[in-house]
Symmetry: D2
């Protein structure tokens, strides 16, 4: 392996802050060297904590020859542009999902990455969760035979604030996108067709903002299997992230992770703790592993485990779901696959 990879984090909101901390203190082979944020105070604070440099404009970070790679954690609408700039600057790129909501901008960004010959890994962190990895591994090893039916349940503990929703590209692009990637990952297959039904059941304000908060989907895969996804923006009992793959020889399922494993019984019944609160708790380990693998793929010059193409397909799927929802029919992915 080559030397330590020096990384700059661009955008230190909730998720950027986590990546900065992981890179600074928990990832062998990585060093956090700089932090950029449009809010100078946020940059300064995070930089100070980890003894890194702070900049307000990410371009300053890209110009720094002491930076080998960047982790793009800024707002979604800036991802494609920063990817292009980072590629032009010859930096390896870890980019949070989504790449963008516009396929044309995504294609430009991916072309820039290819032209520059840098690594690009997209932040589908759930692929690195030990449970989902195990499911994928068992499916790939043929333990369940030929996959026939995928089931994904994915429900958030609470809806984001409406202002966030308005910038988020609506539910399929913001939330279901993780499940779309998970569907491809677990089944080791491409989705060819999506039917989506949506509803506003959680908060009428979400409906007024032109979005939905509850959805069910029926998927058809290229190799013939079927699947369902269901989503809600608000689950009273917390973050619900379950998957199962049913095949000709068996089934593998994973349920939720709890903060501890105690079981309490009293005169009212048997009680166990709710799932871990939300993605930062539930996927703490997977955020760490994804970043470790990003660093490893640079040091070993290997293919990133989640590629730009993976990032693009998830958008095509979200657009198909969106169209299906509007037209109340199954949408073939070629309809929304763009250029």
């Amino acid at each position: 392996m080559s030397a330590t990879i020096r990384v700059g984090v661009i955008g230190v909101g909730r998720i950027g802050k986590l990546h900065a901390e992981n890179l600074a203190s928990r990832i062998p082979g990585a060093q956090l060297v700089a932090v950029a944020d449009v809010v100078p105070e946020a940059a300064r604070e995070n930089a100070a904590r980890w003894h890194a440099a702070a900049v307000a404009d990410y371009r300053a970070l890209l110009e720094d020859p002491g930076v080998d790679a960047v982790a793009i954690c800024s707002s979604s609408d800036t991802h494609a542009t920063i990817i292009q700039d980072a590629a032009a600057a010859g930096k390896h790129i870890f980019c949070e999902k989504p790449l963008d909501y516009d396929l044309k901008k995504i294609d430009d960004a991916l072309m820039a990455v290819q032209a520059a010959g840098v690594k690009l890994q997209v932040g589908f962190n759930r692929r690195f969760d030990v449970n989902f990895r195990k499911v994928r591994e068992m499916v790939a090893e043929g333990k369940i035979g030929t996959p026939h039916i995928l089931r994904i349940t994915s429900r958030d503990p609470e809806a984001p604030p409406t202002p966030y929703l308005q910038g988020s590209g609506r539910m399929f692009l913001d939330m279901t996108i993780h499940d779309f990637d998970m569907a491809r990952f677990l089944m080791d297959d491409e989705v060819s067709e999506i039917f989506a039904g949506g509803a506003v059941l959680v908060e009428s304000e979400i409906g007024r903002a032109g979005d939905i908060d509850t959805a069910v989907m029926a998927l058809r895969f290229a190799k013939g299997a079927l699947g369902t996804i269901d989503n809600s923006r608000r689950s009273a009992y917390g973050y619900d992230q379950r998957v199962e793959v049913f095949g000709s020889e068996g089934i593998v399922t994973v349920g939720n992770n709890a903060p501890d494993a105690h079981v309490f019984s009293d005169q009212y019944g048997i009680h166990a703790p709710k799932p871990l609160y939300f993605f930062l708790e539930r996927y703490r380990e997977s955020y760490l592993v994804e970043m470790q693998e990003f660093i490893n793929c640079i040091r070993r010059n290997t293919q990133p485990p989640v590629t730009g193409a993976d990032g693009r397909i998830s958008i095509v799927m979200a657009l198909a779901a969106q169209r299906s929802c509007e037209e109340n029919r199954a949408v073939v992915l070629t309809e929304t696959a763009g250029g």
Copy 2:
């Protein structure tokens, strides 16, 4: 309560035999008095076992003034006709699902029942399962708040022989029909719209017979909730019958029943027994309870817990699913609701 209800069973295949046994030995207030079957030997054998009369032609049974009620367990294509005949003869009627595959014939039969003023109960036995009843009860009591998402997984341990399939009206009418009824029952709501995707993954012979063996469905309910159903004709690990109702305040789920509750751990892992083999084992209690309630509703002169209208709606749903599958779009139930 009035006197003992004297019942004749029409058709003693697998399910008729079970009802005959229950009526003869396990249902207070009922007496098995006669058994009819087009195979005289079958009628004789079952009749002898329970000290009842045997007839080949069910009409003989309908003419008998010593018969108060009939349980129709003959082949599906005879149900509507026998209902009409039984109603004309003034007998109360328990009829196995489906009523028929033709809505016109169903409507004629239901009209005959109404004109005769007899009771008609349709054999959706799963409604009487202690677990599903508990889910329904919790939903009805508002324990989960407003229902948002229903999930039903229903998979058989093995596909029926192809000859059976050909007479069965295809998967939605033969198998999913139970799930359609369960959807309405659990949610205490009507389904307004169905999208269904089907595939032939289990056995190519099923496809050659013009049927499917695997399906996923997306449902929309009248009050706004959404749902999914998934079906397979063959589950390697046995009969898989799980439901969950997710609502604004919580979720209630039920899994499968096992033959016993032992857990065995060895160097290979932790092992528990598979679910009970199939419907006769899994729903043994519920077959008993449904028949008890049929007898009770005659003795108490109350409304049957599963009505002819319930039986009809399940057919409308199956027809909608069938059409959706063919046209790859959501089908509103009014499209297939007939006359």
Copy 3:
């Protein structure tokens, strides 16, 4: 098989009433012909319900040539005497546990049974529970290798009224006796030594009556294995009946049975129903099976599945536990084995 076995039930308290009902309506090959109880009204009521004869004095029942067998469900202190009388009358005998609290009286009764050549089955119903049978079967088949450690947890939902306690022979003879039998049954081995520690933690009144309400025991088996039992007279979450057998190759465990299998999750956690309330609910099936096997062993002239010797050993174990508790040391079973 021979003809129907005509049974008289002696004593129709809680458990006698259950056996009468099972014999009258659920046990092929058996017929309930008479009911005796020192409370004539109780005898009359149960007899009327099942169209049987009622007698106040059980001796009348023993003199009846139309009675083939008796089920002794009277108070514990009458068991040994009635066994002797029934044996003398040539009746086959099902006797509720305990045979007696006095080994001399037990030996006299067993000798009378042997002399008369009648069947005697003791009511250790738990042996017929599907879960415990499965454990026994797996141990016997060598699935867990050589048994090393047995664990039994057995806790009642509530303490019996003090008057009952005073006639019951104290906790080891009244309650733990079932666990002592279960220990021998599950391990297919004899217990050679018992250490018992007792305490009064549930109700001080129990202590004032000279009894205990909480106990832990350490067992040593003849073939070398060890075991623990723990008991409480009051479990807030209901009847707790768990066993596990740990061996050289694995472990088999069984937990409690619930009234239904629903799981409910809300903002407070994940909730499942408490165990079935008490022995009448938890062991409903096993009471039925034990009586069926008693009837079968008469009809087939085979050895009863639970013998008088089994009943006697459980008493020896209880006496050893009692002595251990008093002397705070391990007691070898030969010390209390009597004769």
Copy 4:
């Protein structure tokens, strides 16, 4: 809080190596400055990995003014001596269990610690496990009412090599000692009396070495509660670490932790993964937390969460169990409490 605590690790076998790694890379406020081991190569290797100094003789480390605290992970028979030396040198002390097998030596060491006014924390890492902490917390909060019965099952996946066993002070001192500490911790009470039964069932060689490999214990607590512990040196299905506390109002239990949460079902049954292999995997987090708390108690000048007295009592309990096993009677702890 004060400055960074500079720690030297004495003994870098399996557990010392882990503490060195944690101190060097995962414990905010701590710095690994030196590593001592009687095997110079082991010291050098671990020191090099973490950029610390290596010494062969721990005395050199104690003389170093740049060392604030030591973690004693050398062989058990050296613990008491090193504690005395470290205390004399004014170093704070984290010491792996057991303090020693000789109460006189322990008392001398504890006196030296007290005289020097340094902190001493004993390595009962299980107290820091999130699950056991939760049980303790629920008991302490009165959630289960008054504790009545404690159950601990503790079984290793495989027996240590016989040479290790011979230096280990036999099973109660080497293995059960953790359970003895857990008993006091979970119940927030002292054990007053122990009955122990032992056997050689796993490996006859262990018996020839004068030790046992299987044990069951009955405990009596000062406040009146009872308890059981069972131990085996070899569990075919892996490391089995379960506890439950039963009280007047309910029960809290924790089971084992698995490497992942997948469940696989096939034609043979339902399968889940075995528990995590052994203590290094199972208690990875708790080793980290205990060391963090040791560092915190130095920086904040607070009482260590596991004291020298805790370490001493666990030895008294092991000696009582040993004597009970030999004399086949309950042993009151004052009998073995020494001094």
